[in-house]
Symmetry: C2
Amino acid sequence: METSSVVKTSVGIVRKQSFHLENYITVGGRKLREASIGWESYGTLNAAKSNAILIPHYFSGNSHAAGKYREDDALPGYWDSIIGPGKAIDTNKYFVIGVDSLTNLNTKDGITITTGPSSINPDSGKPYGMTFPVVTLPDFVRLQKSLLDQLGITRLHAVIGCSMGAQQAYEWAAAYPDMVDRIVPISGVPSQKAYALVMIESWAAPVRLDRHWNNGNYYGGPEPAAGAALGYYNLLIDSLHPELIATLYGHAAADSGLAPLDAIDHQFLCESALKTQAALGAARADPNHLLYMARACQLFIAGTSGCSVDPSLKNIRAKTLVIQVRTDLIFPSADARVVVAKLKENGTDAEFHELDSSGGHLAIVNEIHKASNLIRSFLDR
Amino acid sequence: METSSVVKTSVGIVRKQSFHLENYITVGGRKLREASIGWESYGTLNAAKSNAILIPHYFSGNSHAAGKYREDDALPGYWDSIIGPGKAIDTNKYFVIGVDSLTNLNTKDGITITTGPSSINPDSGKPYGMTFPVVTLPDFVRLQKSLLDQLGITRLHAVIGCSMGAQQAYEWAAAYPDMVDRIVPISGVPSQKAYALVMIESWAAPVRLDRHWNNGNYYGGPEPAAGAALGYYNLLIDSLHPELIATLYGHAAADSGLAPLDAIDHQFLCESALKTQAALGAARADPNHLLYMARACQLFIAGTSGCSVDPSLKNIRAKTLVIQVRTDLIFPSADARVVVAKLKENGTDAEFHELDSSGGHLAIVNEIHKASNLIRSFLDR
């Protein structure tokens, strides 16, 4: 029995799959002759096809929520701590599906499958660049719906996601109310606030400033990598919290022999460490995709721009478990509380839980195991 | 009497003056053959020279705290609502001095006087650029001290400042404890937090990304204006608060005929309005000065880098009135409370007041009148 419980700690090796759709019409009314997204699954779909849980990902993420592609992968999927046999999202019970978004950032990781500005436009034989149509989170959800149609899944036990993934969970519950039994939105609100709009802009704007951006026509030449890295830096500092940054880095110089007082080019450790981390993320990303992902998120405003979520939230009927990080700077806890109060007012079965962490927004990945029991019991009832 | 009280609402026309120092040695140990800063004053210095109040400015500000230079100036100085005859900082009683910082941002406003990377290096006859030495807030304070020496002022009734100005007030109290009777630090802490360091970096980094930056050697050619504007944009969004941004702009498109869903180049109003405001600020600034001001602030860490403030705050003896904006995102209220608790522990006469505003950090200018009675009575006792 003990051996068996050890084996059961991971979903093991997972296989990336591709879903392809032709002539997809975007929420904005433009046609994509081809739209592809990657997906992967953990657990087994039951005969009644009634045990599926969908996991849309956060802004800089992809489908890879659990397990490893190869034994020697450095890290498993981002939510491996809560997805697996016997874990909060129990793959002994559920068929769990992770999906890539359109215009996904990670075009260079060798595994993400997405259609976006870096894709070849079949009409021209060249990358779309800035001619790619604007897409938004409801587009992501519509592609997921088509994938489920193909798999013959007509009901979802739950949609669970964090950040941009939480927003897609809201969109699912509003767009397909008869199809979604439960949602677990973790640190994300159904109506993007004006402050989030302008903050997200600071993640994208450096790309346009980069000398190599060239109005998006950089394919085959030097890329605006420095701009993308600065965008990721801004995203990263918005995703952390003062308490955590102080704990991690303090005030040390990046190089103890190169005091920031002595030369303008010397750096603090906190600054250089976060810049390094940001550059690693940006190295996996197509810079134009950063512009499109930013816009996709900025457009997610309840009741507008093709978003199915009514501002009154009255079209949401799925049982809802809202989890919110106490120290989140991108989606403040107070906003999530307002959402839950509104849902309850409308008669929706909704509950609110705050995850106590000093880690800021990124705790939705780094500390999600703290919500294990909450999620497990919510999925059971 | 009524006419008289109307006349008394302003300090009237003020005159910018210049202070010049030769062979100034920076905190970092470098020599500036010439260092100049501008200053201005309101009210009259009494015979005993005992009624002076010093006002160091915030990050993007300058000496111009009250009055107008010319009758037709569009706006008076930034704290005109609290500095003037009969106002909180009463120029019928006090001689109030505003001072420009070294490496001041506003080199292009036609009135700021400062020495920094855009100044001509007397040794080369060319602008310093990145060869200018790093300076920090204690340098600013040392120059202010030299100015006061020249004016024959040996005691200060108070040092009052907001943000970077608040930090200079702490520095004054720590560096010259026998000279400063009172300080009023408004939304600023005596030890820059690691989070503030990385946030400030996001104000400066876009300058280096701009194709025209050229390692700081852009004088006489095209300037990295777009980079400076993006830096100011980041500074601006950090200086506001979600509640205020939502109230001001909501989710409208910048142009109602150009929906952000329809093209990647269409903007939201919140984004374009803040970008416009940021570009106006940046148009007054030398981009290299933004790098140096950022570093000056990043270096203000209690007990290090030449900062006179001891981490224990034990060297601060001036009566201290700390005012903090409730919704400040750059200097969270909680940090200021810790400072006041420490000061009290040390036996310093210190009090804490929270300014209730949904405006974020910028309320230190826009809503400072709300603190009028607090400041007035503190200066009286």
